[in-house]
Amino acid sequence: MSSFQPASHASKAIELDGVDRVFGQDGSAVHALNDINLDVDAGDFVALVGPSGCGKSTILRILAGLEVPDSGAATVAGREVGSPAAKVGLAFQNPTMLPWLTVEANVMLPLKIVRPYRDRYQRERKRSFRDRAMGLLESVGLGQFASKYPWQLSGGMVQRANLCRALIHEPDILLLDEPFGALDQFTRESLWITMQSMWIERRPTVLLVTHDLREAAFLASRIIVMTPRPGRILEDIAVPLQRPRTIEGTYDTQSVDLCRHMRALIDSREGAI
């Protein structure tokens, strides 16, 4: 990538250009990603769905700079992935809160690491940074739990805090790897609502990896259906549903049809193998 950025790239939050990733050696090699091309506009909410092994988590890890593609290019906000300038927020299925820090300190962790915040961390951690963390925690209903430790909270509450931490440094993209996967149905749905209102309010660019088709249909503006062995994009669906969406709405014909369509797509490919 040259450092020169054409103007047309300015609004692209994510660009994957012919990305390939193979795990293992010749004999047992697994083609995790095969020629992935994907552009995501800034402020869009995109879900990656597909069965296990379709490489959707690998895409996330590449964008987070945790994996390097074997070929092809990945850029975040016009900057090559892996450079410190590419600001990424990350939330996994297992909440990765540090158990020795309070919820508030956990949420502020990215400000301690990411430039330019880290230079002001010692000065601002009791002032503006703290206000920012409290603002986020209050927006997800965790205001009074800020001084608790993560292990004193329920799974759903920890995952809410996890989202706050992923957002606090105002990343160019928010990468969510099945963040609600380990929660029970009711907690999960209440977190969908939280996630949706956070997105409507702040409009971050989100890439969500999920197994849950209803979740994708509820949250995303655009759904990428992927297929495994080799990991490839099968279909790119624009979600026609109005926002704000409701949980009852996921049982409406339009939403159910969308899920059924995705299901059929995945089944057709699974059957072929």
Binding site: A64, F92, N94
Partner: protein, 257 residues
């Protein structure tokens, strides 16, 4: 059966006291000679009357133990940090460490005496040699078992290796370090005292040696009791510090309360 904290404490004190009462009873009932096994009453009496004579020895032993232990914690943490984070260090240093730790430390004391002369030097060196291994092993284990997801979150934020060490590796390792310190302080005591019984003219070990060559068994046992009490006090001190700093590791539940 779930006992309340208070009942639990009463029971445990009762059990400890009855062990000593049983000991006293056996000595009196079978008329055991003071020379074979003095009763607790006689040991405590001796400890009380001869405290002034034992005290400088205790101070000397504490001095060598604490210095040896401190060296263990500092050097052991550094080596453990290296072994736990670098594969090469793990492959190269671990076999050497296991080899060294398999040597009975008593066998090293004559060497230390040749190097440093009798007295304080070998006592510190022995305390260090015996207590460094648990520190290295625990710190290395703590670092090596850090959850990769925790590191991934920081790496995705562009954290350097040093950032990850200070924010994840080190705090994650604290419970392991404190567990090691509790073991290390008690074995450091053993190291110092062993060295004093072989090559010193001061220290509890030396006092015991002199007392037993004078056939003053109550004094030997008084010195032993003194060591035990000091050991328990140190262990308790580190447990309290540990609880203060690593409450998260037990999720607030207190196994020692």
């Amino acid at each position: 059966m779930k006992l309340s904290d208070f009942t639990m404490r009463i029971y445990s004190i009762a059990i400890i006291v009855s062990v000593f009462l049983f000991w006293e009873f056996v000595c009196r009932a079978f008329d055991v000679s003071q020379f074979i096994l003095p009763p607790p009453s006689s040991i405590i009496h001796t400890l009380y009357t001869r405290f002034g004579a034992l005290q400088p020895h205790l101070v000397q032993t504490l001095y060598t133990t604490v210095i040896g232990f401190t060296l263990s914690v500092v050097i052991g943490t550094l080596i453990g940090g290296l072994v736990g984070t670098s594969r090469l260090a793990y492959e190269a240093i671990y076999p050497i460490l296991v080899g060294i730790s398999s040597i009975p430390k008593v066998a090293l004391i004559p060497i230390f005496v040749v190097w440093m002369g009798a007295g304080t030097g070998p006592a510190i060196a022995t305390a260090f040699a015996i207590s460094v291994f648990p520190v290295v092993v625990n710190v290395a284990t703590g670092l090596a078992t850090t959850e990769p997801e925790l590191e991934d979150v920081l790496k995705a934020l562009g954290a350097s290796k040093a950032d990850i060490f200070w924010n994840v590796g080190l705090p994650r390792t604290m419970p392991y370090l404190f567990a090691a310190m509790k073991v290390a302080i008690t074995v450091a005591f053993i190291g110092s005292i062993t060295s004093e019984t072989i090559a010193a003219n001061r220290g509890i070990g030396n006092a015991m040696l002199v007392a037993s060559s004078n056939f003053n068994m109550p004094l030997v046992f008084a010195a032993l009791l003194m060591i035990s009490i000091t050991g328990v006090l140190f262990y308790t001190l580190f447990s309290i510090v540990e609880r203060r700093f690593t409450r998260w590791a037990t999720r607030g539940r207190d196994p020692l309360a």
